[in-house]
Symmetry: C2
């Protein structure tokens, strides 16, 4: 099911980037799916009032999209085994987020072919949304 094989992956490889432009509808959809209806994500007026300058995206929705960037590359949604990020800055409706990954290690553990990637998410203006990200996929 995978698009890539362990042998053809090399340390230093960059995986195809995923670009997503957020809109408020995506935040409402994610609220419905996750059950997290905190008004800072769904209510523009409230988010303005508490000083956020408008709604901000759920951090986990950015993490989910970063995960999709990885599984789109592998071609197998079950390949993602370990995943960590740091939530650096919020993303907002209108932002175009670029999700990226770079292979930093290959190893074989318990007969499993594991590839470790440095991963992250940025907005075009240089804002880092997800930092210190690391993911392990099994190929």
């Amino acid at each position: 099911m995978a698009n890539v094989t362990f042998d053809e992956v090399n340390v230093g490889d960059e995986i195809p980037k995923l670009e997503v432009t957020l809109d408020q509808m995506m935040l409402w959809m994610y609220a419905g799916a996750s059950g997290d209806f905190n008004p800072i994500h769904v209510d523009k007026e409230f988010a303005e009032k508490v000083g956020l300058g408008g709604t901000i995206a759920h951090g986990l929705s950015s993490m989910a999209r970063l995960g999709r960037c990885l599984t789109d590359w592998v071609g197998d949604p079950g390949a993602l085994k370990r995943f960590k990020v740091r939530f650096a800055s919020p993303a907002r409706p209108g932002d175009t987020i670029t999700f990226w990954g770079k292979v930093i290690d290959k190893s074989i553990e318990d007969g499993k072919n594991l590839v470790t990637l440095e991963v992250g998410a940025n907005i075009g203006d240089g804002t880092v949304v997800l930092s210190k990200g690391e993911a392990v996929v099994e190929l």
Copy 2:
């Protein structure tokens, strides 16, 4: 905005568990919100045919619910700063997943009050869905 203060949290504390019973509608909703419409999550017949015994939940949706267990406890969705898990076993419609967290460390870094928790998700029959989880929240 937070429900808990740094001072009242102690190493060894367990946070309130979150229990979620999955149904197929939740998988379809998450597919819509995340853009991940892989048939193993949405098409029961396909998932049977490829030997999965039915659809399985998106791993990131379990991670999102574990994140919600943490932010419900803190009372501030912006408090979650770092988050990692290992995707151990899939969860399926009909499964009741228990999301849990236990405080393992408190520290002050750059003037920020940080609490580190061991976190995870299990199904009632003992299946571990998310293992080796760790989260850092700022209080």
